[in-house]
């Protein structure tokens, strides 16, 4: 059976990446000449920001230098496997779907349920410790399926603690983890287990595909970001043995996990920090870029923010408390890859610094850079065009503007995460509910910074024009503000389900409003 979805990808010609590097060096050289310094403080702020974006860009080009991947390995033995489904208050219908899909996974000559001596399925119920109303229902659900439920009575460590608790009570050679909203395809085990023929392999990570990506504007945006991550980024990381565990759709060698005393319970991005420790012990990890499980994207902006905040906070915590750059026994390439993954969550901070430079100019007339902009434009254009080309080409053209908008518009989440990490302030997050409940018409609290920037932008444009008229400098800075407004506007729109619904009534041809059901799934259901 073939998967319906495949990640598009293309191998970028290396001479083009080399040319891009040259263009970027020429560009940054212009900055480092210091011959165009206007206001020194603004110049330094911009320069730091430019260097940050340049390093991230170089990192991305290094990542996509070669995205070829390890081919599937044939299976010779059929080891024992524990399948974990960590649950914490998710609706029963969603857990039932996951269970159904798991039970139809193939193993040996049949399905997993046909080999109870080899494959054990566990629901790791954290509903009790998390005081979820349906925890008992989950326990009861387990009675109707050939699965075991492990319900914690003493909490701690969130999902990582839940898994570690289960590890003590189970014995399979390999552990497979599926979040409660992830539905594996039948081939999951047969496609992945072969990689463990190499004793050095610690885990095999597969992509998270959102089958509800066409449900609405938010699911589509969330998927657009996933496509970039699980496409070229993970493939590139795999090349340098830096593929990290994403917490679901993953199969792990128990021995590797035990060697590091289980999942890291000190970090809410337990999968990430655990991966660092696994790599530090010299294990190999595999990213297998075929979709072998389907899940659900956050359905609204609140869920999206909750998910992103968790990832951002966890990653930034790792950056400040357990930075891989200082971790012994990691290779240089692994350190770079981890730093790139962590560095992504600082983008919002630098983005907002950049976004206020034109505002400052329009309001005060202070410029960070003086002199003619002609040279700057001619140096910047090739650099940015190479960035755009490599971004687009590395995803086989699947990357769209919305993915960039969703990434850049996440600055608020990332800034909160940074401050929360620096000042050790706990931030709460909801478990993505995946349920269509009563939606607000406008999630103002989540996007007020975006709206504030748009208002400040318009005011500063007014001040600038009033002061100087439409001079070239005013027009350029005005254009930058419009650029930034456009970039962050997707979050504002995503925060307005009321407007989306209204527009859908007016333009009924809108392509949202349905979930994909893979053919393979239809076969299972019927």
């Amino acid at each position: 059976m073939k998967n319906k979805f495949k990640f598009k990808q293309s191998h970028i010609k290396k001479p083009l990446i080399i040319l891009a590097w040259i263009a970027s060096i020429v560009y940054i050289y212009w900055w480092l000449q210091f011959s165009n310094v206007g206001n020194i403080y603004l110049y330094i702020i911009l320069l730091i920001s430019e260097i940050y974006f340049l390093l991230m860009t170089w990192g991305y080009w290094f990542t996509v230098w070669d995205t070829s991947f390890t081919k599937k390995r044939s299976i010779h033995t059929f080891p024992s496997i524990d399948i974990y489904i960590p649950v914490c208050g998710e609706p029963l219908a969603i857990i039932t779907n996951t269970l159904t899909a798991i039970l139809r996974m193939k193993y040996k000559e049949g399905f997993v349920a046909d080999y109870p001596e080899l494959v054990h399925i566990f629901i790791l119920n954290d509903g009790f410790v998390a005081k979820k109303e349906n925890w008992k229902d989950v326990d009861d659900l387990a009675l109707r399926y050939p699965v075991t439920v492990i319900t914690r009575e003493i909490g701690g460590g969130a999902k990582a603690g839940n898994i570690n608790n289960a590890m003590k009570q189970t014995w399979g050679e390999y552990i497979v983890i599926f979040d409660a909203d992830m539905n594996p395809l039948p081939d999951f085990l047969t496609e992945t287990i072969g990689f463990f023929r190499k004793n050095s392999v610690a885990f095999v990570q597969t992509p998270q595909y959102y089958s509800n990506k066409k449900r609405n504007f938010v699911t589509d945006g969330a998927w657009a970001q996933q496509e970039l991550f699980f496409g070229p980024i993970c493939r590139g990381k795999n090349r340098v043995n830096a593929a990290f565990c994403c917490g679901t759709n993953v199969i792990i060698r128990r021995k590797a996990l035990e060697a590091i005393n289980g999942f890291d319970t000190d970090n809410i991005a337990e999968d990430f920090s655990t991966s660092v420790r696994i790599h530090a012990q010299g294990w190999k990890t595999i990213y297998y870029p075929h979709v072998l499980a389907h899940g659900l994207a956050p359905m609204n902006i609140e869920e999206y923010y909750s998910q992103q905040l968790r990832w951002a906070k966890g990653s930034i915590d790792v950056f400040f408390k357990n930075n891989p750059i200082f971790k012994r026994h990691l290779t240089l390439a692994q350190r770079i890859q981890y730093l790139l993954s962590l560095g992504y969550y600082f983008m919002g901070f630098f983005m907002i610094l950049d976004a206020f430079i034109p505002v400052i100019f329009l309001v005060t007339g202070i410029v960070p850079v003086k002199g003619t902009s002609t040279t700057y434009i001619l140096l910047f254009m090739p650099y940015i065009l190479f960035i755009i080309y490599i971004l687009s080409a590395s995803t086989g053209g699947s990357l769209n503007y919305k993915a960039l908008q969703f990434s850049i518009g996440s600055f608020y989440i990332q800034i909160i995460a940074i401050f929360s990490s620096i000042f050790h302030r706990k931030i709460g997050f909801k478990v993505t509910s995946k349920e269509v409940g009563k939606e607000k018409n406008f999630y103002f609290k989540l996007v007020w910074p975006h709206i504030l920037y748009i208002i400040i932008g318009f005011i500063s444009i007014g001040i600038g024009v009033f002061r100087e008229g439409f001079s070239p400098a005013i027009i350029t800075n005005m254009s930058w503000i419009i650029f930034n407004m456009t970039m962050i506007s997707a979050h504002v729109y995503a925060a307005m389900p009321g407007l989306q619904a209204w527009l859908k009534k007016i333009f009924p041809t809108e392509s949202f409003g349905y979930d994909e059901t893979p053919e393979v799934y239809i076969n299972i259901i019927h």
Binding site: I388, Y389, G397, S479, W480
Partner: protein
Amino acid sequence: MKDFRVSVVTTLVILVCIAVGLLLRLHFISSLSISLDEAQSIWQAQHTLWGSDSIFVVMAKDIHPPLFVLMLHFWIQQFGQGAFIDRILPLIFGMLSIPPFYFLVKEVYTRKEGIFAVAIAGCGPLWIWYSIDIKNYSLLIFGTILSLLSFFKIVHNNHPRTWMIFFFLSQILGMYSHYFFFLIILLEFIGAFIYKKKSIIILSLLSAIFFIPWGYEFLLFHSSSTQPSLGQVNLFNILLTIFELVLGYHSTDFYKASIALWPLVILFFFVYIKAFRKVNKDSMLLLIAIILPIAGTFIVSQISVTIFLTRYLLFVSIFLYMVISRSIFSAKYVPYRLVGTVGFLILLLFMTYTQFSDPLNISVEDYKDSVAYVEQYATPHSLIIVSAPFTIYPFEYYYSGNAPYVTLPLWDRKHPINFAPTPGQMAALVSSSEKTYSKIFLIESYDQGHNNETVSWFNNKFKIIRQENFGYNVSVHEYQISYDTHALANR
């Protein structure tokens, strides 16, 4: 049935685009005065076909091959002379370029991009400008499009014989239309390496044989010192040229304000990011076709003689328009495409309107009004000094007054000249005129780098009575040089 319907709709849309393009061209055809270049073309076309003063000899001394002027010669013989009627000839080539442009874009991309490209070609400011300019540029566009169309047909379809013949003929047409067509041939050579098609090189070389007679004539008669100086170019000119190629000619302030919008160009690239997904052979060649001529001519202009001019690089607009079409249609969401296509067409129409209506447009040369002004005020006791020398072409085209005129410095237009008038030349001209004339009308245009000095010299020497500017490029200075009515009476 569906294919038939698509064909009918496509044909109708293309016809509408062509009709709109024709109406726009006809609307603007009489709006501008004849330019210096146009007047020079007409002057060249008025030469005989044979002899020591033939069109071929005149053109060999010029910076363009003879084909267009030769056609203009016959055109004038057939239809007479006049700004409107003579502009019909380039208009024909401008209009003939549009249908093959559709097929070219369709060949490289798809039908949709082709239709949009036709709409762009119909209302593109620079394409309209040169469709009604009595010079060889619309012929260059026409030849380039035919050459590229046949090139892509050959490389995509494994040497179809018809297209090979077409390619061969279009190469000859292109070579005789403009010397910069050799850049197209160079690009096609590069394309031949990319596609591994030797036939392209062989056909181009074969067609080049037909250029040898003209090459010989050129070597025999050409003299670079008869050519005007084009001034130094800097990095800003690169931006300016790219801007002009897409959005036409405008005033300096308009340019600066528009180029200042460059962050929005980056936004455009981000919105239409899917256009960058793949660099296949076609798009790589298009990219080279944009970068190579611009970078190449700029570098040559920096180290040797200035050849970096927007109009010489007009053919690059073909590639820019193709890339823009592709970019807009690469968008995933229909609203993006809709906004992109409609927005870009509105922008082009607006730019076309301002291009022809803005009195400060730096490319508008208003000789008609300046000459009418001189005719109004100059008497037989006035001397008209036309400076720099090339201004004589449009001046003569319009002038029918009684006052005598000279060029400064005196110029036999068939022989080499030093364009900068020396103070000695000016003093000699004036001293010989003072006894005969009471007024001097100094017409300045087409600055060769010494207009300011010339005007200063006259300003210091004589009392200026009036000064009028006619657009950005032409100015008339009226001086009182003598009050001796006796001398005038004895004349």
